[in-house]
């Protein structure tokens, strides 16, 4: 454990020291180097551009005319610290394929480092008429590619098998294949890429094969340009290698970038002869078959008819054969089913058109013969495939009722996919709803706002009333205080009735005094009816009632006491004025005792 910890420190320290080392201060340079300066036609050279003195550099650019087709082949950077001396460089490799012969110029390359533009020297390569790689003897080649077509002379629409082969006896890495564009052909894949082996001149080679089905779209000579394959090959070692090398050895500078080219091809395409009626473009070998699920059925029952067109050739051109008219049946077409496969190295396909037939009338109903027209390149003539006529014996309906033509399909009958027969937008709206604004008017918005605002206020009001009731119900003293004026007014109303009934002034005065004392008690929280004038004066003084109001109240109570205990003293008072006076005093007292 301790060793591991020390190892961590050692590694971390080393990395820290490396990071702390100053960056190389040597002026950057750009050099160009070719792996060889004389080649044969069709061969290629590797150009190495090295930027010394930097750890990273942008991709160099080439100037001037180019005698070569240049493609990048990777880059790598190096950083070394030897005896305190730091060296760094970035290496860019390019594959140069000459476009002609003679002495060709590799244009100078330039790269900008820290604002300074570095430029390499122009180099020269001599391209001689030496045997090209494509034409080289197989024993001298590590790898090459081939392409071929079969047949090379074909009819328009005929299936041509294109084969590409990559043959190598060296190990390879990072293959980048560029097949020709196949202009003038419709292209379909023919199976997966296949890898095999072949012995050539006693040496074992790996063969990678790709195939395509080509269908000429026009007649005349159609060129197929060269195919290209760029890859890294392990350079052959004359001395051999004890362990045979391997893909992971490429980082040890054994990988050699290579651009391989094939020979271009040409296909001669002939126009088809004048077609007979019913020809829909099928070229190849095709067959038309028809199967009927049952030859005997009742009215209202269904029989399934499957028409199959299958064969080898331009299967994408398979279309539904012309069907005979079937007025004696209701016909329900199913979605066609398509199947393709590679058979005997060629594209094969089958399309099945299925229909459900429901006979409308009893009797022998014949399905007329069908015919498929196609062009057979092998015979160089149009051919015909026929499906013989079929007779269905239709028996009377088994049910009591005859077939209702508008009834729904029977359960279990195959559904038919809805086909779009046309495209259009849906029509405009003409209804009166289009004349009603969706945006609320000012009045509607105000109503909405009130609709939101009023209910909460109504609730608040109801809540306040409820709370007040609850408070009054629970607080006796408060209830007396709040209701004192109301009680006094009602009692004074009763006194007025007594006056109207002829009550004596002394009685009125006594009653008025009692009402006043009760009012004082209710408002000020005392049992007022038992208060004397002196006590009332004290209570009013404590409650900060204005002196004149207090004096008037005490005087009234005192007079009432006198009339109560001294007969005839209240005779001079007018009963109505006593009541009015009491009413006035209660109002004043109510105001000052809120």
């Amino acid at each position: 454990m301790a060793v591991a910890r020390h190892l961590h420190f050692l590694v971390a320290g080393t990395l820290a020291m490396l990071c702390a080392l100053p960056s190389p201060t040597i002026a950057a340079t750009l050099t160009a180097d070719l792996d060889r300066t004389a080649i044969g036609e069709g061969e290629q050279v590797v150009l190495t551009l090295t930027v010394e003195g930097v750890q990273s550099a942008p991709e160099p650019t080439f100037a001037g005319t180019r005698d070569f087709e240049i493609s990048g082949a990777g880059s790598q950077s190096q950083y070394q610290v030897i005896n305190g001396h730091v060296s760094a460089s970035v290496e860019f490799r390019y594959l140069l394929v000459p476009k002609g012969k003679g002495t060709l110029t590799v244009p100078p390359a330039s790269v900008t480092i820290d604002g300074e533009t570095l430029t390499s020297k122009a180099l020269h390569v001599t391209v001689a008429d030496a045997p090209a790689a494509v034409g080289q003897a197989a024993q001298d080649r590590d790898a090459w590619i081939e392409q071929s077509v079969s047949p090379s002379v074909a009819f328009r629409g005929q299936q041509i098998v294109y084969t590409f082969r990559f043959i190598t006896r060296a190990q390879f890495d990072d293959p980048q294949l560029e097949l020709p564009p196949f202009t003038g052909f419709t292209v379909r894949e023919l199976g997966e890429q296949q890898t095999g082996e072949r012995v050539i001149d006693g040496r074992r080679h790996v063969v990678v094969t790709l195939t395509r089905a080509l269908f000429p779209d026009r007649s005349g000579a159609i060129a197929i340009p060269a195919a290209k394959l760029k890859c890294n090959l392990v350079a052959r070692s004359r001395r051999g290698r004890p362990f045979g090398g391997g893909i992971f050895d490429f980082g040890m500078s054994q990988a050699e970038p290579r651009l391989l080219r094939s020979e271009p091809l040409a296909v001669e395409v002939k126009e088809l002869p004048a077609p007979p009626a019913g020809f829909t473009g099928l070229v190849g070998q095709f067959e038309l078959t028809r199967k009927v699920s049952t030859a005997r059925l009742h009215v209202g029952e269904s029989a399934t008819v499957a028409v199959t067109v299958q064969g080898t050739g331009n299967v994408d051109q398979i279309s539904e054969p012309a069907m005979p008219e079937m007025t004696a049946f209701k016909v329900y077409a199913d979605k066609p089913e398509m199947e393709t496969a590679v058979r005997n190295g060629a594209l094969w396909g089958a399309r099945v058109y299925t229909k459900a037939l429901v006979p409308l009338k009893e009797g022998a109903r014949e399905l007329a013969a069908m015919e498929l027209v196609y062009f057979d390149p092998a015979r160089q003539a149009y051919a015909f495939s026929r499906a013989p006529a079929v007779t269905l014996e239709v028996l009377p309906a088994t049910g009591q009722e005859s077939l209702n033509l508008t009834e729904l399909q029977a359960a279990g009958q195959r559904k038919v996919a809805v086909k779009m027969l046309g495209e259009d937008i849906l029509p405009i709206r003409k209804g009166l709803s289009a004349l009603r604004p969706a945006i609320w008017s000012g009045r509607e918005r105000l109503a909405a706002l009130l609709g939101f605002a009023l209910p909460p206020f109504a609730f608040a009001a109801a809540l306040a009333v409820t709370r007040r009731r609850e408070l009054l119900a629970s607080d006796h003293r408060l209830r007396r205080h709040r209701l004192a004026a109301q009680v006094a007014r009602e009692q004074l109303k009763g006194v007025r009735k007594k006056i109207a009934g002829g009550a004596a002034n002394s009685d009125v005065l006594a009653e008025a005094s009692r009402i006043l004392r009760q009012f004082i008690g209710d408002r000020l929280g005392r049992e007022g009816t038992a208060l004397t004038s002196a006590e009332i004066a004290a209570v009013l003084r404590d409650a900060a009632v204005p002196p004149e109001t207090g004096t008037a109240i005490v005087e009234l109570v005192r007079r009432a006491e006198e009339s109560r205990f001294a007969a005839g003293s209240a005779a001079a008072d007018d009963a109505a004025s006593i009541v009015a006076h009491v009413e006035q005093l209660t109002r004043k007292l109510e105001r000052v005792t809120r």
Partner: protein, 273 residues
Amino acid sequence: MSGVLTRTAGLWIAVALASLGPGTAASAADLSGTLGGTSPAVAEEQWPELFHKANEAYEAGDYETAKSLYGQLIASGLENGDLWYNLGNTELRSGRHGQAIASYLRAASYMPRDGDVQANLARARESAKDALAPPQAPVVLRTVLFWYYGSSLTELVAVALIASFLFWCACVLRLRLDSEALRWAAAACAIVFAIAGGSAAARALFPRQVAVVVTPAAAVRSATSDKSVVLFELHEGAEAALEGREEGWVKIALPEEKRGWIDARQVEVGAAI
């Protein structure tokens, strides 16, 4: 009870504010491009006659006249989903699929569940050249918040208004009647109000808008200047989320963090739900 009232007060105010402007999907500035800026307003009494004339012009194939008349109606304050839908049809028939998409989007903001609008909008989008998905919320979100994406602002405000009214009625009744059913009714109304009101408030206060390119091609630049770098190019019918506006320019955003400024004259701004 008072706690619930306090918590919903903010939402209630927001919804009340939203009710002031339901349906105002298109501003006057947005409409000027669609309507050509030359559509005089007409009195409300003339709306039916103008509408029928516009329909007749459309049926007769005179799409320019139909567009002008529909535009007059909208400029006069008669704005609804049907009218925007008709205008979209007129634009599409005239070959202006960019403006048609913008009109259908406005129609969809009023009638989000209308199948005809969606069908014609899809048809108009087929004409767009750029392979861009319309700026829409994810399917999961549209499914979970179905009421939000399936209702217009007016509908949301109306539902919130009814729920609010019923909620307060239940609250008032609860002052007198101590009923468990009333309590649950108030709670249900409060939930409905919160959902509908919150959705309405979100729609009104934070509207999503889409910029639709209406010119054959439109350069999207790095800044609000004709001299700025062209980042990428859009074509008629392309839809992008609207992120902002400056004088004469709108800022748009596309998936994969593509964004930039585009000349406001080259786009129509439509509402998006």
